[in-house]
């Protein structure tokens, strides 16, 4: 495979929230990249900073009052953290767009879904109202919403959870972005629609060379769609590899635990599911050494003392662990 063009490269991104309890680094030193036309899967513990990373890429948090960004986010070689807000506005929704995790609260309750889809169209593609409306209906149909002509004029609270999520997807895809950040786009969807949406994303990704960051908990979706996966734990990337490698021989103990926890359709007679023991530490009580050490079955004294680097372990397989599984 020829070396591909990187559409996005995140280098040592740190996002810290200013909270009542002081600064909290929700994301610390995360680095990864997305190639043109590639689907990158992001998985990780709930609360590990996936959504924050995603939103940091778009600089959605209020920099005056809420957060502080550090590091570099190179989009087409341009550092998004450096450019002025005006330029950023131009990129959002047009070059990079995003599907939010929480579909109800992310849709504006007082506008119809149609108006919300039309807005970026009229904004970025300078469409006329009529044209935009047609396109909105088309988008709704594309994401599998029945009777889209009627649904365009409904309000978010009148739709079911899955429909709202699809509206979000429709908004994100409406301007044919070059990079799509999808934060759990299919959680509220039934499997048939999920399949349809994933197919849609794959298709666009294929046809238009759209880069995709797919954040999800559904490892099955990752397995089906992504080429490369990164695994996050407590604000850091802990593993990065091709999808087959991750599933076949995960190196990080956390990834390993994750994969073992998947309930399988074929499982018979299992009474309990596998879990990773222990709990994620608080952001302001992060351990000094390896962040996973307190929960790691293989942790040594070194792990508790020192923070491992995120390094290439095996070919394109990167991992943040002193003792990667299967490499001893």
């Amino acid at each position: 495979m020829a070396e591909q063009e990187k559409i996005l490269e995140v280098k040592k991104l740190t996002t810290s929230f200013k909270t009542e309890r002081g600064k909290m680094n929700a994301v610390q030193g995360v680095s990864f990249y997305v190639n043109k036309g590639e689907i990158l899967g992001v998985v990780g513990e709930s609360g590990c900073g996936k959504s924050v990373t995603a939103q940091s890429i778009l600089r959605l948090y209020d920099e005056k009052y809420l957060v502080e960004y550090q590091g570099e986010i190179l989009f087409d070689g341009v550092d998004l953290l450096e450019i002025p807000e005006k330029e950023m506005q131009n990129k959002r929704g047009k070059d990079i767009s995003m599907v939010f995790q929480d579909a109800l609260s992310a849709l504006n309750p007082v506008f119809t879904v149609g108006e919300q889809i039309m807005e970026p169209l009229m904004n970025h593609q300078h469409m006329k109202k009529e044209e935009a409306r047609k396109r909105a209906v088309e988008m709704l149909r594309l994401v599998g919403i029945p009777a889209p002509e009627k649904r365009v004029s409904q309000y978010p609270h009148e739709l079911s959870g899955g429909m709202r999520q699809r509206v979000m997807i429709a908004i994100a895809l409406s301007c044919n972005p070059r990079l799509l950040i999808a934060d759990e786009p299919t959680t509220a969807l039934d499997v048939t629609i999920q399949a349809q949406i994933i197919d849609l994303i794959v298709e666009l990704n294929f046809k238009m060379h759209m880069g995709v960051i797919l954040i999800t908990h559904d490892l099955a979706v990752v397995a089906e769609t992504c080429k490369r996966v990164i695994v996050m734990y407590l604000g850091q990337t802990v593993e990065e590899a091709d999808v087959n490698d991750i599933f076949d021989h995960p190196m990080h103990p956390y990834t390993n635990g994750l994969i073992e926890s998947i309930p399988l359709l074929e499982d018979k007679g299992v009474k309990r599911l596998h879990t990773i023991s222990g709990m994620v530490p608080l952001l302001n009580q992060i351990p000094k050494g390896c962040r996973f050490a307190p929960r790691c079955p293989y942790a040594t004294e070194r792990c508790h003392r020192e923070m491992p680097e995120f390094v290439n372990a095996d070919g394109r397989h990167k991992v943040r662990c002193f003792y990667p599984i299967g490499l001893e």
Binding site: K18, E20, R21, Y65, L66, L104, H157
Partner: protein, 302 residues
């Protein structure tokens, strides 16, 4: 053996939790204090408000002269070292009158705004929650708002004699609908939120939902409206007093000082500017303080 260890771990756990609770409480306290003290404007607001209240309470101590001491031949003297705020149309010391006036004016402002805040919120919240009540209460408010305050005040005066109470009641009646409406408008919106539905699912009583979940979410527009009422009540008090239906007269109030000043606006600026300023102070203080409360209550701000 096993039993004992279970017991000890249990005890230990209890202890741990107790320690944790304490720790959390302490942290919480610190956060609150920090949040408030860090909010400089709110602090300034609080200081101004408290200072004004002190001025009112300590009027007899602060004022250099009695509010009624008059020397008519000294009327309308410029501010000077003898009368730092000058004298009024009766030759009374304006500074003393303004200080004593703080009692009546801030009293009326505070009473009217508190009464209309409380009653208005009750009406607004309940009518937003119950539709039948809504159509009744809101129509009553429409009716109330149509009745002129002077008429109310004159009628009350006839029944209960002259007193500050009349002014307070008649103004409160006029302002209650305002608060009720503003409360209702926000409450109608809040009521449709999912979290209200989720409270219902938990079996929360209507009263609890109304007071613990809707009310805190509608406070910020209500605070704005209330501070507005505070200011207008002070002025209105004067116009009613002037008709003889308010504060028994020679008693000083900022409003009636202003009214007296109105006729001499061309030749005695101090009669207008100084009471006007003294009115602006508590309004400013209250507003800043209200803003501060809003900030402290707003979970998103820090």
């Amino acid at each position: 053996m096993d039993n004992i260890s279970a017991k000890t771990t249990n005890m230990q756990e209890e202890e741990n939790i107790a320690v944790l609770k304490k720790q959390l409480k302490k942290e919480q306290r610190q956060i609150k204090i920090h949040k408030f003290t860090n909010n400089k404007l709110a602090m300034i607001g609080a200081v101004i408000t408290i200072a004004m209240a002190l001025v009112a309470i300590l009027a007899p101590v602060i004022a250099p002269a009695g509010p009624y001491d008059m020397l008519v031949s000294d009327r309308l003297k410029n501010p000077s070292s003898v009368h730092i705020f000058g004298t009024d149309t009766f030759g009374r010391d304006l500074f003393s009158r303004i200080i004593y006036g703080a009692r009546v004016s801030m009293g009326v402002g505070a009473a009217v705004s508190t009464i209309s805040l409380v009653v208005g919120m009750v009406i607004g919240l309940y009518s937003s929650y119950y539709k039948t009540l809504d159509s009744i209460l809101m129509r009553i408010c429409d009716g109330l708002k149509a009745i002129p305050a002077i008429l109310l005040a004159i009628a009350f005066m006839a029944v209960m004699g002259t007193s500050v109470r009349n002014v307070i009641i008649s103004l409160a009646i006029v302002y209650i609908p305002d608060i009720a409406r503003i409360t209702r408008s926000s409450a109608l919106m809040v009521k449709e939120q999912m979290y209200i539905e989720s409270m219902k699912a938990l079996g929360a009583s209507a009263n609890r939902i109304i007071w613990f979940h809707i009310a805190p979410n509608v406070l910020s527009p209500v605070i704005v409206q209330t501070s507005f009422i505070f200011a207008t009540a002070i002025v209105q008090e004067a116009s009613l007093s002037f008709l003889g239906v308010g504060v028994p007269v020679p008693a000083p109030s900022w409003g009636n000082i202003l009214y007296e000043g109105k006729t001499v606006i061309y030749n005695a600026w101090w009669m207008i500017v100084l009471p006007g300023l003294s009115m602006a102070f508590p309004v400013l203080g209250l507003n800043l303080f209200g803003d501060g409360i809003r900030e402290v209550m707003d979970p998103m701000s820090n």
